[in-house]
C-alpha cells in the first residue's frame, strides 16, 4: 500500500497542450512507484483563466467535475479532493456538499485565504461532518507575502485546527518551500494535523528532523508536482532502518486513518 495524499491533474482549461500526457505520465509513474492510490486535486485552470490560488467559481466547478471524472475513470486508484475558493463562501460550501456526495474524499484549501480566517470555519465544520480531511496548502514559515497566493503557514493552520479539534488536517508539502523546521515545531504534539512530505525539496535533514520531531505517526507520504522527489524521499526513508510498522504508517497507514473508512480498500 502506497497512498499519495498530494497529487494533481490537469484539464483542457489548463492552457497547455500536453495536459493529457501529463496526467497519463502521473499514472504511469505511479505504476512504476507502486502507488496504490492517488488522492488528487485540480487547482482550477492552473492560472490560465483565473489565478491558480485564486480560482474563479467557474474554474473551481469545472476542475472538480473533471476530478470526479478521473476518479470514476480510475476506480480504487484515483480519488478527488474538492477544491474551493473560500472567498465565494456559498459556492464553496455548495461545491463541498455536491462533490462529497458524489464520492470525493477530502477538501483542498489552497491559498485564496489564510488558514486562520473565519471564512474557513464552515468548510472545516463540513469536513468534520463528512468525515473527510482538509489538505491545506502551506508555505513553511512564511516571512512575507509571496506573489500569486495568500499562503498560510503552520501557525495559521494550527489556529484553524485548534478551533476545529474534530477535523483532520493535512499540512501540505513539507518539502514545498520555506522553513520546514519551523513547521515541525508548530505541529509537534498536535493531534489533528498530519504533515505530508511532498514537494520538490529533498533536504536530507528535513526527513531526519520530521522523524525526530513529529514522528512517523504524524507523517503522510505524497508527491505534489514532482514525483521523483517523492519517490526519492520514500526510498531514503526505507534506507534508514525504520520499524516496518512505522514505515507503513507513512506509506499509507496514517492516510487510511485520516480518510473515510474503507475508501482505499479497492486499491490495495
Amino acid at each position: 500500500m502506497l497512498i499519495d495524499v498530494h497529487a494533481h491533474f490537469f484539464t483542457e482549461r489548463s492552457g497547455r497542450g500536453d495536459w493529457r500526457d501529463v496526467n497519463a505520465r502521473r499514472l504511469a509513474a505511479g505504476e512504476r512507484m507502486g502507488i496504490t492510490a492517488h488522492v488528487a486535486s485540480i487547482l482550477g485552470s492552473w492560472g490560465h483563466r483565473s489565478p491558480t490560488y485564486f480560482p474563479s467559481p467557474g474554474d473551481v466547478t469545472h476542475a472538480n467535475e473533471a476530478m470526479l471524472e478521473l476518479q470514476r475513470a480510475h476506480p480504487g486508484r484515483v480519488f478527488g479532493y474538492c477544491v474551493v475558493n473560500p472567498n465565494y463562501a456559498e459556492h464553496a460550501l455548495d461545491e463541498v456538499t455536491c462533490r462529497l456526495e458524489a464520492g470525493m474524499v477530502g477538501i483542498k484549501l489552497a491559498a485564496s485565504r489564510r488558514a486562520n480566517d473565519p471564512l474557513l470555519d464552515p468548510l472545516a465544520e463540513a469536513a468534520m461532518e463528512w468525515g473527510v480531511p482538509v489538505l491545506q496548502h502551506v508555505w513553511q514559515h512564511r516571512r512575507r507575502d509571496w506573489p500569486g497566493q495568500e499562503a498560510s503557514d503552520a501557525v495559521e493552520l494550527a489556529e484553524l485546527a485548534d478551533r476545529h479539534p474534530g477535523t483532520q488536517f493535512i499540512l501540505a508539502h513539507l518539502g514545498g518551500g520555506g522553513d520546514w523546521s519551523h513547521t515541525l515545531r508548530v505541529v509537534q504534539g498536535r493531534g489533528n494535523i498530519w504533515i505530508d512530505l511532498s514537494g520538490s525539496g529533498v533536504d536530507t535533514d528535513m526527513v531526519h528532523q520530521a522523524l525526530e520531531t513529529v514522528g512517523p505517526a504524524q507523517l503522510v507520504w505524497g508527491t505534489d508536482v514532482t514525483m521523483g522527489t517523492g519517490w526519492g524521499k520514500l526510498r531514503y526513508l526505507e534506507s534508514l532502518g525504520l520499524h516496518e510498522d512505522d514505515l507503513n504508517l507513512i506509506r499509507g497507514g496514517n492516510a487510511r486513518a485520516i480518510f473515510p473508512a474503507g475508501v482505499f480498500d479497492g486499491g490495495d
Binding site: M33, Q140, G177, V202, T204, M227, G228
Partner: protein
C-alpha cells in the same frame, strides 16, 4: 556503468544542522547503497570562507583515505592574491575540477577575476564547477542573501576563451535552455550540466531536455548531503531511459567530455 556524482560535499553547513554532513563515511554509505562509484567532493564550509584555500587542506585530509572513490574538488577564490598557488595546490592534490562560488565571495560572476580564473583553469585542463544555487531561494536562512549564479554569466565565461570548460550544477530547465541555445554548438559543447535540479515525470523537464539539448550534455549529481541522493536515482528510474543513455548520464558523458577537452 556505476555513476560518478559531480555534486557531492562533506563538512558542516553553516545555515543548517546536517548531522551527516561531516563524514566521508556517510557519503560512502549512500554511494554503496545507490551504486555510485565515485564522487567529486567539495567542502561545504569553504563556500563562506574568506580564504577557502585553507579549508582545502581539510577536504584533502577527509577524502584521502578513500582516494579511489572520493575525489577532492577544492574551492578557490578568484579574487585572492596568489590564486595561481591555490590552483597549483588543487592540481597537486589530484582534483578533477575546481569549485567557484563568486556569488558567495562578493565577485561579479562574469567579472575580470572570474574570466581570468576560468581561463587559467581551462589552460590547466581543469573544468570549473559552478553552482547555480546551494538551496532553494524559498527556504534559505535569512542571512543567506547571495544571489543565484546567473545564466548570462555562464554564456560570458564560456565565450571568453576556447579553453574554458564549465560544469554547471543545480540548474533548472529554463536556465539550461537559456544558456544552451544562447551558445554556438562549439561553445555549448564545453558546458556539462548535472541533472539534480531537473524535474522528472510527470512534468518531465529532464526528458524534454534530453530530447532538445541532447543527452550527451548531462552528468550525474546529487547535491548530497544537503539533498537526498535517492531523488536523482528515482528520477532516472522514472525516466525509463535506454541503458546506454543512462550510462552516459551517470558517467560516460563526463569521461568523454574530460578526455576530449582535457
Amino acid at each position: 556503468m556505476a555513476a560518478t556524482d559531480i555534486a557531492a560535499f562533506v563538512g558542516p553547513y553553516p545555515y543548517r544542522y546536517v548531522q551527516q554532513a561531516a563524514t566521508a563515511d556517510w557519503l560512502l554509505l549512500q554511494m554503496d547503497r545507490l551504486g555510485i562509484a565515485r564522487a567529486w567532493v567539495g567542502y561545504l564550509p569553504s563556500i563562506l570562507h574568506k580564504d577557502p584555500a585553507l579549508g582545502n587542506a581539510a577536504l584533502e585530509e577527509i577524502v584521502a583515505p578513500h582516494h579511489d572513490r572520493l575525489l577532492p574538488t577544492p574551492t578557490l577564490h578568484p579574487g585572492r592574491p596568489r590564486f595561481e598557488d591555490d590552483l597549483n595546490a588543487a592540481i597537486a592534490m589530484g582534483a578533477p575540477a575546481v569549485r567557484l562560488f563568486p556569488q558567495y565571495q562578493g565577485l561579479d560572476p562574469a567579472g575580470a577575476e572570474m574570466r581570468v580564473a576560468t581561463t587559467a583553469l581551462g589552460v590547466a585542463g581543469l573544468p570549473a564547477v559552478l553552482t547555480v544555487r546551494i538551496e532553494d531561494a524559498r527556504q534559505r536562512h535569512p542571512a543567506d542573501l547571495a544571489p543565484e549564479f546567473p545564466a548570462a554569466a555562464v554564456r560570458t565565461l564560456i565565450r571568453n576563451d576556447r579553453d574554458v570548460r564549465l560544469l554547471v550544477v543545480h540548474a533548472d530547465r529554463a536556465f539550461i535552455e537559456e544558456v544552451h541555445f544562447g551558445l554556438t554548438p562549439d561553445e555549448a559543447g564545453r558546458v556539462l550540466w548535472d541533472i539534480s535540479w531537473l524535474w522528472g515525470p510527470p512534468e518531465d523537464h529532464l526528458g524534454i531536455l534530453l530530447g532538445t539539448v541532447g543527452h550527451e550534455r548531462f552528468a550525474f549529481g546529487t547535491g548530497m548531503p544537503l539533498r537526498i541522493p535517492d531523488a536523482v536515482v528515482a528520477k532516472l528510474d522514472l525516466s525509463d531511459l535506454p541503458a546506454a543513455v543512462r550510462d552516459d548520464i551517470e558517467g560516460g558523458n563526463l569521461e568523454r567530455w574530460r578526455g576530449r577537452t582535457g
